[in-house]
């Protein structure tokens, strides 16, 4: 079980890096000449702030959308690990830890919804 978990983390990281590399490469080739401006905070464009927006942008092969998709995959890798742990504890019939893991999953869902308390 622990081996599967180790693989899960590694594969998630590798896929995320690959997607970010593709998007990042295209971004630098196509838009590399534009001036960089991070000194004043305006926030990321709204389309790249939500999961549906990112999926839509990545599906149209927009450079920044692809990078954000890679970052989303990265963010969801540890979440998948927690979800997987629910199954592991359930298989061990460990009720207490199934509940604790579900609590962690619920807090993660709250955070990922972007709203917070």
């Amino acid at each position: 079980m622990q081996t599967v978990m180790g693989h899960l983390l590694r594969v998630g990281l590798l896929v995320a890096v690959a997607v970010v590399l593709v998007g990042g490469g295209a971004y630098l080739v196509n838009l590399g000449d534009l001036p960089a401006h991070y000194g004043t905070f305006t926030g990321t464009p709204t389309a790249l702030r939500s999961i549906p927006g990112i999926l839509h942008s990545a599906a149209q092969l927009h450079e920044l959308g692809l990078i954000q998709l890679g970052l989303l995959i990265l963010i969801f890798t540890p979440v998948a690990r927690v979800a997987f742990s629910v199954a592991v504890f359930a298989a061990e019939r460990d009720r207490l830890y199934v509940v604790l893991t579900l609590v962690v999953l619920a807090i993660l869902a709250l955070g990922l919804s972007g709203r917070g308390p």
Partner: protein, 277 residues
């Protein structure tokens, strides 16, 4: 500066941050945020967004190797993740409400405390073995880990204290976009008396999950900019992978102290910069 030149600079800076972070044991986040804000003039909110992403990447990379070796205590990790993820959500919400100057000042202070915690070469607290805490027994937190002389068992102590410190670690992680590994190890090592190998690997195992809890809030508030996060994530990941290799080869105490002093200077810079804003 053009985006291409800027990205290249940030990438190489991030490789250095990842290296420094893994060699000192402080993590890449505490180095990359001052580098971006002070040296490259990036707004601290973009900086902590990019840093948080790199924290998830390094944690996943290292944890993949550790879980298989049998040092990580998954029950302890999961129990304490209730505290760290709650703290992380709270910290991320605070980050979206506090003025950037305040975030910079808190960052500087935390940086200095972290350096103190890692440099303080106290003899490690003795590992508790037989008299297990009643709560720890009920939560099935005792475990064993592989040593050259066969498996060694341990019994964690003071669970509520460890849980509380973890809540603080999670809040700092969400507020500052760092892994706060130094505080996590403090809880596992000093409060709960876990063996060093178990506490460092379990801490690393938890860092990615903790960071994921704040990442969604950062994303929705526009802190995670793809153009900036891309070179930071790739650079820090590469740097910390190399750093982990180097760490096995060279264990120079002098180098560690020198690096820690450099990071201390960054902390002072952050506070000065925050006061100037």
């Amino acid at each position: 500066m053009s985006t291409l030149a800027f990205s290249a600079l940030v990438f190489f800076g991030s490789v250095g941050a990842g290296l420094l972070g893994s060699l000192t044991g402080l993590g890449g986040g505490v180095v990359i945020v001052p580098l971006l804000t002070i040296a490259m003039g990036v707004d601290v909110r973009y900086a902590i967004g990019a840093s948080l992403i790199s924290v998830i990447a390094t944690s996943s990379g290292a944890a993949a190797a550790y879980v298989r070796e049998g040092f990580t205590n998954i029950r302890i990790g999961m129990l304490l993740e209730v505290a760290t993820t709650s703290g992380a959500v709270l910290g991320a919400v605070l980050a979206t409400r506090l003025p950037p100057s305040v975030i910079e000042i808190i960052f500087g202070v935390v940086l200095m405390v972290s350096v103190y915690l890692t440099l303080r070469q106290e003899e490690p607290a003795p590992v508790a073995t037989d008299q297990a805490d009643r709560l720890a027994l009920r939560l099935k937190l005792d475990g064993s880990y592989p040593t050259p002389a066969g498996p060694a068992s341990y019994a964690p102590q003071r669970i509520p204290l460890g849980f509380g410190i973890m809540g603080i670690a999670g809040t700092l992680s969400g507020l500052l976009g760092i892994g706060s590994g130094a505080v996590k190890v403090l809880a596992l090592d000093q409060a709960m008396r876990l063996p060093f190998k178990v506490s460092t690997t379990t801490s690393n195992f938890m860092i990615g999950v903790t960071a994921a809890a704040s990442a969604g809030i950062y994303l929705h508030r526009g802190f995670i900019d793809p153009g900036l996060a891309m070179p930071v994530m790739l650079g820090v990941t590469a740097g910390s992978l190399v750093g982990a290799r180097l760490l096995v080869a060279t264990r120079s105490e002098l180098l560690r102290v020198l690096f820690a002093l450099a990071i201390l200077a960054l902390g002072i810079e952050m506070i000065v910069d925050g006061l100037r804003l």
